[in-house]
Amino acid sequence: MALDEYEKRDFRVVGKRMPRPDAIDKVTGRALYGADMHVPGMLVGKILRSPHAHARIKAIDTSAAEALEGVRAVVTGADFPEIAPGEARNVRDNAMARDKALYDGHAVAAVAATSAAIARKALKLIRVEYEILPHVTEISDAMKPDAPVVQEGFVQENVPEGFSDNVISYHQYGHGDLDAGFAQADKVITRRFRTAATHQGYIEPHAALASFGADGTADLWVCTQGHYYVRQLCAEILQMDQAQLRVTASEIGGGFGGKTTCFIEPVALMLSKKAGAPVKLVMTRQEVFRASGPTVSSEIEMRMGMTKDGRITAAEAELHYQGGAFPNITVQFGAMAAFACYDLQAVQTRGYNVLTNRPKQAAYRAPGAPMAIYAVESVVDELCQEFDLDPLEVRLKNAARKGTKASYGPTYPDIGLVATLEAAQAHPHYSAPLGPNQARGVACGFWFNFGGDTSVSLSVDFDGSITVTEGNPDIGGSRVSIAMMAAEELGVPYESVRAVVTDTASLGHNEVTDGSRVTFAVGLATIKAARAAKREMCRRAAKIWGIDEDAVIWEDGCAKPAGPNAGKFEPLSIKEIAAKSSRTGGPIAGHHEVNAEGAGVSFGVHIADVEVDPETGHTRVVRYTVFQDAGKAVHPDYVEGQMQGGAAQGIGWALNEEYIYDENGRLLNPGFLDYRIPVASDLPHIDAVILEIPNPGHPYGVRGVGETGIVPPLATLSNAVSRAIGRRMYELPMSPPRILKAIKGG
């Protein structure tokens, strides 16, 4: 790990609340989102979707649709070339079914037509002959040896025997002697938990505009978190060179992990290729719910032992996750993250991934961690109640700190959990009085944070202003943070820097905007690119002055002679050096390419006060406070926004959000009326307390902050509700019928 990047410094720009550069465009409507793109001659694409949860496609007759006036192309699974097994093939088969429809909403055909009305009419003319197969949507059903198998051929070698072929991967982590650990406990409890599948709930539906040229090159404009990955997947699916496909990301109306892959893009490209014209595909909200990528549902068994003074002696968890009809690694993240908050002598997690007839899951903010840590933090809370111990004291007693060997392997460097717990303990919220039917819950959370492949180019324009070119869609305010880091490093005003997200043809590869990586990794590359530009500007100053380039230093945004021996020259500003750059060797730019390591793990602690109506089971969140380690908060507004946003989504997950299926495996609530995300009036003001324990892996100490915030709310709410009603809750969401049933002793 790169743990020697951090240098303590006094910041001039970083840490201030600068105006966001995209704000005016977004409130005036000038910002261009996925569905806003228009090109001449553009056709409208629409997708026909399976009404069945599991069915063999015996035949598809598209002749009537093709004959309809105004229809320019019809695409089915047969149009896509055969490719090697792997994620691209999974994405292809999810974007368009081949032999079988694998879930309610799975695409089976698509049309491109001159109008939306004609496209809709054409869909109704496509005849699909289905043979309905037995389906399975629930984890425990899918694992049974005699369960209907969703897809064959995915079972990995290390999966234990005794399950159906839907159980495709197994992941185990941990260390120490469990039996010895449990033997030391004064109390050992085993509890089972369930969490429902939830959706990221982004406001902007998926949208893509594809234009395939007669020469085999193609352009794709798309709402995505990662246009380089879209290019990689689509190029493989369409069997073309990556360089022949240019992908441009639009502004993005939310993603939260759900836009880290492809759903409609390969279909848009294939329609455009067949039609010989640009094609725009935009999902409806119903399509987003049925056929984009919600997160996994889970069934978890948790066993924990504790001494009466609050020391956890051993813990183990078995995690069963389903993420739809295709493989994913979310349960692996869950198995790794489950006990990451604790310093444990004996710990083990076992994760099973299970296929079901549901949509192919996608990442959702800290994928896999919220449900695992919900179960862990619930049993910790129950044991705290058992021994009448303060829940924050117990967490402090067991907290991971510098030097702790994490349950998933590594030994932690400087981390912020203890500081975060102490901040929560000292905060007035923790000791505030509670009213009738109210109770307080607390829980910890964790996320790894990613780094990854990153490219940044920074140009010093002739007037001395700075353009930073980066390749990660700005989903949480990264442009402002990156511009601030460039201004900080160069010593120029923030206002003279503009950060631009460019297309795949204009910059080296950039990993998806995920894993809370962008402010960390793109920020790191920006700082390094700025340092390269500064070195070049020192060389230019040396040339202007006619001295050796080693005799020039960079200070306060200027090139200066290194000392009295270097000669007497007035400092040269960026403006002055830039103005002469054409005559001193040409344009000045810096760039940096890196596979960034040392992202720095992140911890958070949440406190919630809830009030439960004992007659209706309705939960009101009365007060909520988030404590999180940001390493260094580059732009505190955005950091607080991430902490609040994660809490808001976690509260929705805990209380009301769920995918509900009927007995035929059809999704019953594909819309925001019955898929109940919290509205503004459901939430109190969420207080955010930022801790800053510098990340040794970043020059300014930055850690990712985007994901940890969604991890603690599930258990925080469950612990609060359980204490309020005097009965322990073991299933999410804690919808009012479920809470009222628990109150009435059901």
Binding site: T616, I660, L673, D674, D682, S735
Partner: protein, 292 residues
């Protein structure tokens, strides 16, 4: 698709007669347009009734109020005089949709959409409201309770449409209240609901009551036993318990994505009891007109 915007009731009757079932009335459009966009319905003709002046009016009639079928929730709720007479109906009407939807939605539309979970309908039934219907065979009046006959279905005959809703005159010391249960605070649909209208005498005894329940049966239920539990009492513990029990017994809900049978039965009694307390406070001058 054809869009018509007639300026008189007669023109609407003629247009509907000619359309032979292929037309739909457009008032606020807050259900109709949503259903069209979701590809649930595809009417050939839309007859917009908002250009008919009398359908946009609220008028005094015999001590009561006549509410034009195209009067929006926002227009209704700006009328302090009606809201003072019918605070419960006002709060029910106000619960339909968002602020934007409030500028469009109507009582008649909410009624004709015939959802058992419609917010204004239990309040109108509790108010003993009467719909005026115009059609090919003339004009008729029908109690609101008799208009929905099942989810999405009404008793209106072909070519008929509602022109107004009539709210009867109020006796002294009368008030109403409406409560619904939703898991959230806004932008949601009732899992169970209760509308109550009461009249008290000088001593605070209940002399008249109507209790209507929503989302616990195929149509809004008028529960006579629940009203009977209140009449002649001072709305104290035993009467309220009997009321809640009567509501639980009358309810015949279903299990669905919004709630369970057990939950709806339990909660509808709680809502009715709480609504009675609010209406009682209003009728006895405590917090009159104040919204829950």
């Amino acid at each position: 698709m054809q869009y018509l915007a007639p300026t008189s009731e007669d023109e609407v009757v003629a247009a509907l007669a000619q359309a032979d079932g292929r037309a739909r009335i457009l008032a606020g459009g807050t259900d109709l347009l949503v259903q069209m966009k979701a590809d649930m319905i595809a009417p050939d003709i839309l007859v917009d009734i908002k250009r008919i002046p009398e359908l946009r009016e609220i008028t005094r009639e015999g001590g009561g109020w006549r509410i034009g079928a195209a009067v929006s929730g926002a227009e209704f709720n700006e009328r302090a005089d009606i809201c003072a007479d019918w605070p419960g109906l006002a709060e029910a009407f106000d619960l339909i949709g968002s602020t934007q939807v409030q500028g469009r939605c109507t009582l008649a539309g909410n009624l004709c959409n015939a959802s058992p979970a419609a917010d204004s309908v239990p309040a109108m039934v509790a108010a003993d409201a009467v719909a005026r219907i115009v059609g090919p065979s003339g004009t008729r009046d029908l109690p609101v309770a008799e208009i929905p006959v099942g989810p999405g279905r009404t008793s209106l005959a072909a070519g008929e449409f509602i022109t107004s809703i009539f709210l009867p005159a109020r006796a002294p010391r009368s008030a109403d209240a409406y409560l619904r249960f939703i898991p959230r605070t806004e932008m949601d649909i009732a899992v169970a609901s209760a509308g109550v209208s009461l009249t008290l005498d000088d001593n605070g005894s209940c002399v008249a009551a109507r209790v209507a329940l929503g989302a616990v049966a195929p149509t809004v239920l008028l529960v006579e036993e629940a009203a009977a539990a209140l009449i002649g009492t001072k709305l104290e513990g035993a009467a309220l318990a009997a009321l809640a029990q009567a509501c639980e017994s009358a309810a015949t809900p279903i299990d669905d994505k919004r709630g369970t049978v057990a939950f709806r039965k339990q909660v509808v009694g709680v809502l009715a009891r709480r609504a009675v307390k609010i209406a009682q406070d209003r009728a006895s001058g405590k917090g009159a007109g104040e919204r829950a």
